[in-house]
Amino acid sequence: MDHDGLTKMTKIEVVVGGTEVPAVRELIQTSGASGFTSVSGVSGLGHGGYHQGNLLFNERDTLALLITVVPDDRAAGLLAGLRPLLEQASGVMFVSDTYVSRPEYFR
């Protein structure tokens, strides 16, 4: 795939329960990521069955998706922290290559 002019980085997406979000957020922020995107109330089908998304009066007990993009050399540190967290809590993580047009935003 041609990505002329774009810079390669690592994208990490984490789906966790709302109660785990502060821990994941803290890990991302202290691992050198310059930012993240958080989507609360995500729904979907996983190995544990269907997960309800938005609940009318409970924003805490639904799943959240956190996305961050970091330079490749910072990914290993963050992943080292995320893996034990996800071993103890329900959640999944996706790691993939990505390309950005404004790399200075992510350094």
Partner: protein, 846 residues
């Protein structure tokens, strides 16, 4: 690059370890907005039994009452042998069906041996922390110094405005401020200050450095960090709350402080190890249990073979499960009777239009008010979460700090302002001027009292008045409170005000709020001329825990503003048009009125009376009179259990008495709050109407017929039930372990920094509820039981909802909440189990 990446990975791994270590600690809210939480909420993904074992090892906390207390309850008839056998049949059927054992010539069935062990067997020892810090092992005095420093710096940084001086460099964040200040703190030795001067600029690096110096092995690191966090679980839990809010203090910062002091204070090589040491088993051996069981059958010198045979039976009931068996029997006794009561034939319902409908919060205390009002006339009452589906940030007329009036499961979604009623702006100005003058006097008095020098001048100037005033507050609390209220009303006469939801709720949002509210509680037809939305609060004097008595659905605040907002929405013409289009036709002559129930005084105040149309004045006046009488009768009912209340008092005298309690600054039992809470009932009021549930049940109205998709039930089970379970667990754990999970005795509490209380002048921030919220002396007023949810709805619908919500799978599947359900009133109650729905009471144990 590799070194940098390695360091980054080390830091990330450390933070993961800290998160895992903190699972045994729930966030602890500040006292001003006391939020009942499950102190073991982080362990809800484990079965209840495993969670309390984990907490026993980490915190040294009890997870149930002790065997002696259960046995006393058995002797008193509160638990029966049939209750115990019922639990054994469900939990340990293989033990019950074990072969009989021959003892002294007779064949003793397994059930008798198991009962003998439960009733007479040796008790287990108290739980103890399984992993201790190095300083605890080597020199407890050093451990105390670390705790004292933790308390000092946390109290300084987290102060919410109580202290005269704020901590310097607070804006840099906790770790940076402490790192800058601690080396100048002469309360620690110079050598320690020297080490503190060398600390790295990052808190995580400071923790890693200290762990390295203390030689904590990587595989034991999370446990070691937990040992430090659980030394002072109160401060750790409170820091966790701040960290979750994104504030500049985290558990890593806290550990950096603690571990840095530890490495500096333990500056000589130590013989102890930071690795966890196995604790002696606190439970008796099966052999010891067998001998004790045999002794109950008059077998003085049992043969080894007999002991062995009995031990084989008892092995099928592990010693650690015995307290849990008793707990389930204790709960089962209550639950069987409650569900039995809910199985009676339903009372005839009048076809006539009700005189009025009163919608109360689901709070268990509302049950008493509803029951008393229903006895006085043709009233319908309903239950709904007391924030009435409006998650608001409320700005009152005085313009002080706004309040988040919604469950903590939500963030406020709308800003609502209280403003003068049209035409009453001048009166509102007068009220505000009076309030400012009064608060100026009070603030000046308290500031002078709290300052270093001015108390001497204050004593000279105002001492002559303070003494008699204090005597009046103590000896004549009722008249003093009434006088103060009169003075306040005279200085700041209340002006008519309104809330205007249209300013922050869009038309569609108002319509959805109205529709959701009415559908969730099944109030979609047969409206009365007056429908009251009744929030609640509790007015008490000199009570740091006042917020714990207010409405949990309103974030530990009084719910009047929510009721006003919801009533204003439901009285809107455009909203009613929308509802009519959805098949909910509210008659033109139906008026929604807001109210607030003061659970300390049993008074119900109708709010926004000036908005009630003249056509409804008579209806409202009649209702008010009945609410007054219902309140008086409720006072008489509550007075039966309030310590020091006149016994057998008339409703009038009881009403005066409870009002006095609320204004008595020395009263440690202003009311019992939610003590006794035990069940959450979801269904139409017909299920419970006419029953005296003893103010022990959360009642959420629900009509399955108007909720074919199950969305209303899903909302009820994922929000009000979750809040009720937090409340239930808070009361439960504060009762079974008042030292670790509870706040201990109120009588020695000191409020610190406006964020919590200490027992005495130092030590840990206290968690949970004070002893006086759950007990009177040594007598438990709160019976610690996990919540029972009794739901009248199609079982398939419940199954679908549970299947798509992890929180419900944890609560029901891991025994944090018991779930009973039936589809129709005539159906038997069924029990939710991992094997599907089972009869609540099996025939072979009935």
């Amino acid at each position: 690059m590799t070194l940098v990446a390695d360091r980054s990975a080390e830091r990330a791994l450390l933070r993961a370890d800290v998160s895992l270590a903190a699972k045994v600690l729930a966030p602890n809210w500040p006292l001003g907005t006391f939020i009942a939480v499950n102190p073991l909420g982080g362990l809800e993904d484990k079965p209840f039994g495993d969670a309390i074992e984990t907490a026993a090892g980490a915190l040294g906390a009890r997870g149930t009452l002790d065997l002696t207390t259960y046995r006393e309850a058995h002797a008193a008839g509160r638990i029966t042998s049939a209750d115990l056998l019922g639990v054994l049949a469900r939990r340990h059927p293989q033990a019950l069906s074990a072969p009989a054992v021959g003892l002294a010539g007779r064949s003793v069935p397994a059930r008798e041996l198991l009962l003998a062990d439960l009733l007479e067997g040796p008790v287990s020892g108290p739980p103890a922390r399984g992993v201790r810090t190095l300083s605890e092992q080597v020199d407890p005095q050093i451990a105390d110094v670390i705790d004292a420093q933790t308390t000092k710096w946390c109290a300084a940084f987290l102060d919410a405005g109580q202290a005269g001086w704020s901590m310097p460099m607070r804006d840099r964040g906790f770790y940076a401020a402490w790192r800058a200040l601690a080396p100048q703190d002469r309360t620690v030795p110079a050598t320690v200050r020297g080490t503190l001067r060398t600390l790295p600029s990052r808190a995580d690096d400071a923790v890693l450095e200290a762990l390295s110096v203390l030689e904590v092995a990587d595989e034991h690191r999370a446990e070691y960090l937990r040992a430090h966090l659980t030394r002072l679980p109160g401060w750790s839990s409170h820091v966790r709350w701040h960290a979750d809010q994104g504030e500049d203090i985290t558990l890593v910062d806290l550990l950096a402080l603690r571990l840095s002091y530890e490495r500096a204070l333990l500056d000589t090589p130590v013989a102890a190890t930071a690795d966890p040491q196995p604790l002696a088993d606190r439970h008796p051996t099966t052999q010891a249990r067998a001998r004790a069981a045999i002794a109950t059958f008059d077998t003085a010198q049992p043969k080894d073979a007999e002991v062995h045979a009995v031990a084989q039976v008892l092995d099928l009931l592990p010693a650690r499960d015995r307290e849990l068996m008793w707990q389930e029997a204790y709960e089962g006794h209550y639950r069987d009777r409650l569900l039995g009561a809910l199985t009676r034939p339903l009372p005839e319902r009048s076809e006539a239009r009700p005189a009025a409908q009163l919608v109360c919060c689901i709070d268990a205390r509302s049950e008493g008010l509803r029951r008393q009002l229903e006895r006085l006339g043709d009233y319908d009452t309903l239950g709904f979460a007391g924030f009435f589906a409006v998650a608001i940030r409320y700005h009152d007329l005085a313009g002080g700090r706004p309040s988040a009036l919604c469950p903590v499961l939500l963030s406020p979604r709308n800003e609502v302002h209280e403003v003068p009623a049209p035409g009453d702006e001048a009166r509102a100005d007068r009220q505000l001027a009076g309030q400012r003058a009064l608060s100026g006097v009070e603030d000046g008095f308290h500031a002078a009292k709290d300052d270093l020098i001015s108390p001497f001048a204050l004593a000279e100037a105002a001492g002559w008045a303070s003494g008699p005033l204090a005597a009046a507050k103590t000896m004549a609390a009722g008249p003093y409170g009434a006088l103060r209220d009169r003075l306040h009303r005279r200085a700041a006469p209340p002006a008519p005000t309104v809330v205007v939801p249209q300013e922050s709720f869009g038309a569609q949002e108002r319509a959805l709020v109205a529709e959701a509210t009415l559908t969730m509680m099944g109030l979609t037809k047969d409206f009365g001329r007056v429908v009251v939305l009744c929030g609640h609060g509790s007015t008490t004097e000199n009570n740091p825990y006042e917020s714990a008595l207010a409405c949990g659905a309103c974030g530990g605040n009084a719910g009047g503003p929510n009721a006003r907002t919801a009533a204003a929405i439901l009285n809107g013409d455009d909203v009613r048009e929308h509802l009519a289009a959805k098949g909910i036709a509210i008659p033109q002559d139906t008026w929604f009125v807001a109210a607030e129930h003061d659970t300390a005084s049993d008074r119900v105040t109708l709010l926004d009376r000036h908005l009630v149309p003249e056509s409804h004045h008579d209806d409202v006046a009649h209702l008010e009179a009945d609410l007054r009488e219902a309140g008086r009768r409720l006072s008489a009912e509550r007075s039966q259990t309030l310590p020091g209340a006149p016994s057998g008092a008339t409703p009038g005298r009881a009403a005066r008495h409870v009002r006095t309690r609320g204004t008595d600054w020395a009263q440690v039992f202003p009311e019992w709050g939610l003590a006794g809470n035990a069940a959450f009932i979801v269904g139409p009021r017909a299920m419970t109407r006419g029953l005296d549930l003893g103010r022990r049940c959360f009642l959420h109205s629900y009509e399955a017929d108007v909720d074919p998709e199950g969305s209303a039930l899903e909302t009820i089970l994922t929000a009000p039930l979750v809040v009720a379970q937090w409340i239930s667990c808070q009361y439960y754990f504060s009762t079974v372990d008042p030292v670790v999970h509870g706040a201990g005795s109120k009588t020695i509490h000191n409020v610190v920094g406006g964020i919590g209380v200490l027992a005495g002048h130092d030590g840990d921030l206290k968690l949970g509820l004070p002893w006086q919220s759950v007990a009177d002396g040594t007598r438990l007023v709160h019976e610690p039981m996990r919540l029972l949810a009794a739901v009248q709805a199609p079982l398939e619908r419940i199954d679908e909802i549970v299947a798509r919500n992890t929180i419900l799978q944890h609560l029901f599947g891991n025994d944090w909440v018991a779930l009973a359900a039936r589809e129709h009133p005539t159906d038997p109650w069924l029990r939710h189990t991992p094997r599907g729905w089972q009869p609540w009471t099996r025939e072979d144990q009935a």
